[in-house]
Amino acid sequence: MSGFAKPLKIALGLIVIVGLIVIPMNFNRYGLFILSQWAVMSIAAMGLNLTLGYAGQVSLAQGAFVGIGAYAAAIMTTHGWPLPAAILVAIALSFAVGWVLGYPALRVQHHYLAFVTLAFSTLAFLVFRNESWLTGGIYGISNIPRPHVFGFATNKPLPFYYVCLGSLAIVSLAVWWLIRSPWGRAFMALRENPLRAQSLGIDTRRYTLMAFAIGSALGGVAGALYAPLTQYIDPVPFNLSLSLDLLMMVIVGGAGFYFGPFLGAMIAVLLPEWLRFTEGYYLMLYAIAVMLLLIWSPTGILGILDRYLAERRTKAASALRAVAKSRLETAQ
């Protein structure tokens, strides 16, 4: 994104933010639900983008962490705890489980790691489904309350959409700060060349575990918002396909790009809705669209933009070189 001038970037960002606040004001209930879902999934995908896009660790378990967060929030808020406390517990819980899940990543990489996390995802689903004393089993947990924020009730769709959007904003700022901190640099070093990272004195063990734990914690945050959003949860939404969807969001948006998860979640959540008018064909068209996009640009949507900007920069640079060269020649 570095090809745009800074004021232009800030203006663009402001327009998007104001648009996200103002435009949904006259959306109906369903439109607001979809948009809130986009915000929640963006948070989860941002977490996975940290683990996968920045630190280079493949995880097929992000959906399980959304589930852990959702169940933590559902169980606590239906027992009278406030949502912020539930979010903190969700963060702590998924951070801890994510840390433990990071240990296999110290031993195995790439597709092996993908399959360990895939197995974990299935195990988590079985626990959600079978431990009915805690999770309500297949009947799930219903009547999950929505929070009061500064004394305002957020039961209506619009206020709760602002809760989701606000949370997305907080998480985005935190991630923005994180990837610019020495930790973020260490994550990228881990992705690009683990051996060299280690020889530069980066504790690769700790940062691998951290990448998993922080990414998972964001999955937990997303889950803790998902539960009050739908107000009813059962195990089905948190099966393996959610993990696969989240992975798809990250790759389609552009892994390792800051804005990738926002775009990826937009495509995964909104595109099927836009295609609804095609009735039974909408998921098929969605699948075809994803495949075509990946064939065209394996680095995702932002990969296209990145390539375009890089091309423009090289062109500009070579034009400058040509000018300089001709000046030299005329001087001689």
């Binding site: 493949v58 296999p104 031993r107 195995v108 790439h110 597709h111 092996y112 993908a114 399959f115 360990v116 895939l118 197995a119 974990f120 299935t122 195990l123 079985l126 489904r129 079978n130 060349n193 683990p194 051996l195 393996l240 696969l244 992975l247 798809m248 790759i251 389609v252 892994a255 039974g280 064909y281 998921l283 098929m284 969605y286 699948a287 075809i288 994803v290 495949m291 990946l294 064939i295 394996p298 680095t299």
Partner: protein, 291 residues
Amino acid sequence: MSNLFDLLVAGLATGAIYALVAVGFTLLWQTSQTINFAQGEFVMLPAFLMLAAMHAGAPFWLAIILGILLSMILLGLGFKMLLVDPMMRHGVLPLAIATMALAIGIKEAVKQFFSAEASPFPSIVPTGDVSILGHAVSLQSIGVLVVAILAVVGLTTLLNRTSLGHQMQAAAQNPTVARIIGVPVERMILLTFLINAFLVALASLLITPIYLAKFSSGEVLGQAAFIAAIVGGFNQVRGAIAGGLLIGVLDNLAAAYVSTQYRAAVPMIFLIAVILFRPQGLLGRAEERTV
């Protein structure tokens, strides 16, 4: 102990089908670094192609031949040319994601164009039991085992005893050197895709009479094949066979002795243990690290 015997036979029969699917899976990995997340859907689809042929009036034997040919064209040639070839040089992950999208696409297409309901599927083996060592064993299990064993023996003979098989192995192990000594690597890769398509069509023919033809049946199968491939050894055909049989038996025993609720957990825990303590698989060789 008659119960244990029955469980073992049933487990070996499902395991043999898993093995077929897992072998195809490892072949694709070895020759083109394709992790095919749609492998389960690849098994689901041929049964529907055969059913469609029968609806159009073809007799069962003709439907089988048509189904196998069509799946070799669609899932072998089409899959390679349209999806794998354009994406292969961009690394493992984007292609894996694209196959996930393909899995959704196949599932939805079957649901939309055929049926969302489960359809019955005729068996190539007559129903009934025979008595072996005083146990009643269903003909279906025996038929499945025989066909699967024949397929596996045929494939290993092809790979290990023929020049074509040696060329395929060379293309998989070291494409550059293989190309230098004159192996048509591209054609060999295409051949593995065709073999995979044949194997999944065969697996489809064997498993669909047992579990019915349903658009969503690929999910469980695909996962079982992944696990079998990893447990046995990702870079070994015989590893995938052993892994398939092992997972089939383990799954059946877990259902009987652990709990029906957590039966699916047993292969998963086994998988995690294998990856952590023997990542190259039970029969596999260790892969060299690239870094």
